[in-house]
């Protein structure tokens, strides 16, 4: 029989909270960093200059063709050889996730940028805005709005994927539940609770996405 009675505030604060906090941090950093670098990669690919396009395309296609768990493992295992000392599972995970997500966000941003009609760029340029001003004031704000649902959906996937850091032993949400379960001899219950927590968070977030979409809609535009 399932016995969930072991699960109380004490367990949450001793095992789960720390893992939850790391998962949230990892998601937030990888999202912000991933969107930032992803946008740069997208701009490189759309720059019309071969020497910028090629490295960006190679990076994005390369990253998207390798399973995330392998990138996590390889980065963690290889970095001590590269810099002579280990950097720890948590930091390693943060760097890996940011670099990996940048590839996915860049494809989303690329589609977003391309969805803005050429006339908008012309209008910005005709007013005397330079490339960065046109991007920053005209193209990207509209692209972000168009892409917001997809960007946030990618972030929900990212939150789920953070559980893959088990491969390098980082202490995340899943690991928190796992430790609690092991300590109390209740692994099945702990994994079940973990699943419920992931479900509630991800389902809640997708609801937030829907609401946000309605809030951010530009007046007069469908």
């Amino acid at each position: 029989m399932l016995d969930l009675s072991f699960f109380d505030w004490d367990v949450i604060s001793r095992f789960v909270a720390k893992g939850f906090w790391f998962s949230v941090q990892l998601t937030a950093i990888a999202m912000v960093g991933g969107v930032f670098f992803g946008t740069l990669l997208a701009m490189m690919r759309l720059s019309g200059r071969k020497w910028l396009e090629l490295p960006a395309a190679t990076y994005v296609n390369g990253m998207r063709s390798i399973p995330l768990v392998m990138v996590i493992l390889w980065f963690y295992l290889l970095i001590p050889f590269a810099i002579g000392r280990p950097i720890g599972a948590e930091l390693s995970a943060i760097i890996t996730f940011t670099a990996f997500e940048a590839a996915y966000y860049s494809e989303i941003m690329r589609a977003g940028i391309q969805s803005i009609p050429r006339g908008q760029v012309w209008a910005g340029q005709a007013l005397g805005l330079n490339y960065w001003q046109t991007m920053g004031s005209v193209v990207l704000p509209q692209a972000f709005r168009n892409m917001l649902p997809v960007l946030l959906t990618q972030t929900i996937i990212l939150f789920q994927d953070t559980s893959l850091v088990y491969a390098i032993g980082a202490y995340d949400l899943l690991k928190g539940f796992e430790s609690a379960g092991r300590n109390y001899g209740r692994p099945i219950e702990a994994y079940l609770l973990a699943a419920v927590v992931y479900f509630v968070i991800c389902f809640g977030l997708s609801y937030v996405v829907k609401r946000l979409q309605a809030r951010l809609a530009v007046p007069g535009k469908l």
Binding site: P117, G119, Q120, W122, A123, G124, Q125, A126, L127, G128, L129, N130, Q133, S137, V138, P141, Q142, R145, V218, P219, G220, K221
Partner: protein, 244 residues
């Protein structure tokens, strides 16, 4: 004195030539209408004036500055030439007021308050002060185009380019935009206007340029163009758009 001078401008898309050796000029205070069948290169030609379309041969001189010179500060040159597009191209994510202020602040370095005040002045000119806080999507096409004209004017341009400003409008809205343009012309603004509105051309144009297949076929004083067009192609074009 020529405000805009085009000297042998040629442009190719791959092996297809869209502009062939186009030479003309627009004097200060002059209104020049560019017409011709669709695909004749009118829009491409007018976009060469502020280098929105690059060209491979020839040059355009705007107020003494070469557009083709790679050393030219293009954003600066463009900021001095106003442009109005067929599809308005207001920024849909900004209020009308912010549409007017954006480039004044970012390019001319005006304060937000000053830019907004100036924007309001031009918004009043086009009769739309009541709509300052609305978004472009909440306005009709004619209103949007008038905002676009106000946006260009608020940069204090030395010349205005109009690329088919009424082609995307419902018929009942064409006149409200043309009225603003006529008023501008009568105030002595230097204007280059791609349009099929021959009524506008008759009323305020000084010269008419007729283009076909990337060439400037006729470049004549308004009365000469409408009275006795020299080329067969211009005659055909005029008979098509004037008689129906």
């Amino acid at each position: 004195m020529a405000m805009i001078e085009m000297k042998g401008v040629s442009k190719w898309y791959g092996s297809f030539q869209v502009l062939a050796d186009c030479t003309t000029s627009v004097d200060k205070g002059e209104v020049v209408v560019v017409c011709g069948p669709s695909g004749s290169g009118k829009s491409t030609l007018i976009k060469c004036v502020n280098a929105l379309e690059p060209f491979q041969k020839g040059d355009v001189i705007v107020d003494g500055i070469s557009v083709g010179d790679p050393k030219t500060d293009l954003p600066k040159l463009r900021s001095r030439v106003g442009m109005v597009f067929q599809h308005f191209e207001l920024f849909p994510h900004m209020s009308v007021s912010d549409n007017l202020a954006l480039a004044q602040v970012k390019v001319l370095g005006r304060s937000k308050d000053e830019a907004t005040a100036r924007g309001m002045k031009y918004l009043e000119r086009v009769g739309l002060t009541a709509h300052a806080q609305k978004y472009p999507g909440q306005l009709s096409g004619g209103q949007q185009q008038r905002v676009a004209i106000a946006r260009a004017l608020s940069m204090d341009p030395i010349a205005m380019l109009f690329d088919e400003p009424t082609s995307a409008l419902d018929p009942e809205m064409i006149n409200e935009v043309l009225d603003v343009m006529v008023q501008l012309a009568e105030e002595g603004m230097t204007m280059m206007v791609v349009t099929h509105e021959m009524g506008f051309a008759r009323k305020v144009a000084h010269r008419v340029i007729f283009m076909d297949r990337g060439e400037i076929v006729e470049d004549a004083k308004k009365d000469d163009f409408f009275g006795k067009p020299r080329s067969e192609r211009a005659v055909q074009f005029l008979s098509k758009i004037l008689h129906h």
